[in-house]
């Protein structure tokens, strides 16, 4: 699948320099934003650029980073997964019930946490491809409520505490002074990058996002690919849940409320298009970092949450506007 920018470069060879600039902004706009944001914040607050705080940000960004990499796949296919926050909650409470409540071995808990996520994602995929619900916005809006409700029912609405070290490890441990959860994010990002750019399924995902009907006609097994897409998205929610357990030593059925919105925001800020077919893992990762850096910096500045929400909203609007401009300039 060719990216839009290469198309542009071939179409209008008149002002090369301008195109190079455009290409640069498309490719590195979000990164540039992150760098400028970092510089600004380090001038405004002396504690921002300290090692301690940087590790803090990496740790704080990891849950959203995992969720948003998962979210990238549905968005690449011009879909969406609104249920990731609820999947996260369901995964962690099932992990809690089995390992803390029933005393199952913790090592099993690790698989349960991502497994429940994957299963929930599979159901999302089946609703979309087998029941032919018109748009994943609707099917995942439904399961968002179903999974959340299930999490509340099976726990009697109360949180579970007291996880073993093995389960807490992912979210709690440091390797040297680097949070393990961030290393996990990087490893997952590399896998995702290879998957999306080198594997057949990866290229199919972009193709489906580019034009679903054309993809179907050219023999791409669209349904099977979509099934995988939502399974991976669910799996990543489970993995994010594992990090959340470690960070708080708790599994609450109300965990992950509104996380889907942060994940969507990170994907969009990272330059992916809501219309599908455009977006990268690295962009998404930078999107997640921008959100984390903004939240952290604004907290250090003592800004009220209300104003933080406004600022993050403005960043999202800008990112979408950039996408609109990009499409218009085609």
């Amino acid at each position: 699948m060719m990216s839009n920018t290469t198309n542009e470069a071939m179409a209008s060879p008149t002002s090369r320099k301008k195109i190079e600039m455009k290409y640069f902004i498309n490719k590195f706009g979000a990164l540039l934003g992150l760098v400028l944001l970092t510089i600004t914040l380090s001038i405004l607050t002396p504690n921002f650029l300290k090692i301690d705080n940087i590790m803090n940000i990496l740790r704080q960004s990891s849950i959203n980073a995992l969720l948003s990499m998962g979210m990238l796949l549905p968005i690449l296919t011009a879909g969406i997964d609104l249920s990731v926050g609820s999947i996260l909650a369901l995964s962690i409470v099932v992990t809690g019930i089995t390992t803390v409540g029933l005393g199952w071995p913790p090592i099993l808990g690790l698989f349960i946490c991502v497994g429940v996520g994957m299963l929930a994602g599979l159901i999302n995929g089946l609703l979309l491809t087998k029941l032919r619900l018109p748009h994943p916005f609707i099917s995942t809006l439904g399961t968002m409520n179903v999974y959340r409700g299930l999490a509340l029912i099976i726990t009697g609405a109360s949180p579970i505490f007291g996880f073993s070290y093995l389960i807490n490890f992912t979210g709690q441990a440091n390797v040297g002074f680097v949070p393990f959860s961030f290393i996990l994010v990087i490893v997952v990002a590399v896998i995702f990058h290879v998957f999306l750019t080198r594997s057949k399924t990866g290229r199919y995902i972009y193709a489906i996002g580019g034009n679903k009907e054309a993809a179907r006609l050219s023999g791409i097994p669209v349904d099977r690919v979509l099934l995988k897409v939502y399974m991976i998205s669910g799996l990543m929610a489970g993995l994010g849940g594992l990090v959340l357990i470690g960070r708080t030593n708790a599994a609450s059925p109300i965990a992950g409320l509104t996380y889907e919105l942060d994940a969507i925001a990170a994907v969009i800020i990272g330059g992916a298009s809501f219309f599908g077919g455009v977006g990268t893992v690295w962009g998404t990762l930078i999107g997640a970092m921008i959100i984390a850096v903004l939240r952290n910096g604004l907290n250090l500045l003592g800004t009220s949450t209300d104003l933080q929400t406004v600022i993050i909203g403005l960043v999202i609007i800008l990112a979408v506007y950039v996408d609109v401009l990009r499409r218009r300039s085609k």
């Binding site: 600039m21 455009k22 902004i25 706009g29 540039l32 934003g33 400028l36 944001l37 600004t40 914040l41 405004l44 607050t45 504690n47 300290k50 301690d52 705080n53 803090n56 740790r59 704080q60 849950i63 009697g156 609405a157 109360s158 949180p159 505490f161 709690q172 959340l244 960070r247 708080t248 030593n249 708790a250 609450s252 109300i254 965990a255 409320l257 509104t258 939240r295 952290n296 910096g297 604004l298 907290n299 250090l300 500045l301 003592g302 800004t303 009220s304 949450t305 209300d306 104003l307 929400t309 600022i311 403005l314 960043v315 800008l318 506007y321 950039v322 401009l325 990009r326 300039s329």
Partner: protein
């Protein structure tokens, strides 16, 4: 497109700059009292900043700060359910090297790792409103003795009830300790009288409470009294009754928020078991400052409670108005 980015970044930098000057102004205000040493900064993380209860708490904290010549910064998530965001706020305060922390954790046990981190970096931690039992290194826990307060409310309710009467209790989140204690205190005060309880979970939500009251009254019109473990739910109960045209069932609320007290004055609620968030916020800052200076602080401080009825509610409403600067 470059322009768009440029304009936006400028706007962002401007906003951030404004935030910064805002917070430094605040610090200057409290600079008035000479301390002789570098000014102490206390970070406060509340369950949310959007309800009047927490605004009064904040007002108490700010009053203490100006009395003691220290600066405070108050943060809290948009919703009480966003407990992980609270954890992030505590971590961020640790990063910005505050001299003391006051934390009101909405999911107490989940806050433990962050509190331990603060303690390991030598930051004294005062817990307010909700205790984190497993965090033994706390300076103190300041909060309402919920059981005692609800017991007082139960004793008041006893005067309106007879043996065998049915009482509806609308409570917050099952398993949440505060609501457990409030439910238990109220029930045990009425234990001897021998009334029957119907307990429903409305998760501290006003709308859910409306529905529960409507449904319960439909199923069982014989309810003699309603006790809600928070004002939001008590006000929801009133709405639910009005919707059904019921006016003769007394409602007792819990919290003492301005809304809750107003509705006592207007006769919508019969009584309100009021906590004292202003006092809580004040004492928390005071204790954090004491701990930082190396003075001893009691391990448990009761911030007090009172049952308000039509007879004594007016004075309290005046006081709260003053706290909120209205």
């Amino acid at each position: 497109m470059k322009k768009v980015y440029g304009v936006f970044l400028l706007a962002l930098i401007f906003i951030l700059g404004a935030c910064n000057s805002e917070s430094s102004n605040e610090e200057q205000e409290t600079d008035g009292t000479p301390t002789g040493e570098q000014e102490m900064k206390i970070g406060v993380v509340l369950m949310s900043l959007n309800s009047e209860y927490w605004k009064i708490h904040e007002a108490g904290a700010k009053k203490a700060a100006s009395d003691l010549g220290v600066s405070v910064e108050v943060l809290g998530p948009a919703e009480e359910t966003l407990y992980e965001e609270q954890v992030r706020m505590v971590e961020d305060f640790i990063s910005s090297k505050v001299d003391g922390l006051v934390v009101a954790a909405s999911l107490p046990e989940a806050m433990l790792p962050a509190l331990q981190k603060a303690h390991s970096q030598g930051i004294p931690v005062v817990l307010a409103d909700a205790n984190v039992e497993s965090f033994e290194d706390r300076v103190t826990f300041i909060g309402t003795e919920n059981y005692d307060a609800a017991f007082k409310g139960g004793e008041y309710a006893a005067s309106m009830l007879e043996k065998g009467d049915k009482v509806l209790i609308i409570r917050g989140q099952m398993g949440a300790k505060v609501h457990d204690e409030r439910t238990k205190g109220f029930e045990e005060a009425l234990h001897e009288l021998g009334v029957e309880f119907i307990v429903q979970d409305a998760q501290s939500d006003r709308m859910k409470s409306v529905n529960i009251v409507e449904n319960t009254l439909t199923a069982d019109p014989n309810i003699k009294l309603v006790f809600a473990t928070s004002d939001e739910m008590a006000l929801g109960a009133y709405t639910g009754m009005s919707n059904k045209g019921v006016t003769n069932i007394p409602i007792i609320g819990f919290d003492g928020t301005p809304d809750g007290l107003d509705s006592v004055q207007q006769g919508q609620l019969t009584a309100n078991i009021a906590q004292d968030p202003f006092q809580m916020g004040y004492l928390a800052i005071e204790s954090a400052v004491k701990a930082k200076k190396g003075e001893t602080v009691e391990k448990r401080i009761d911030s007090g409670s009172e049952v308000y009825t039509k007879e004594n509610v007016e004075q309290r409403i005046e006081d709260l108005k003053n706290y909120l600067g209205k």
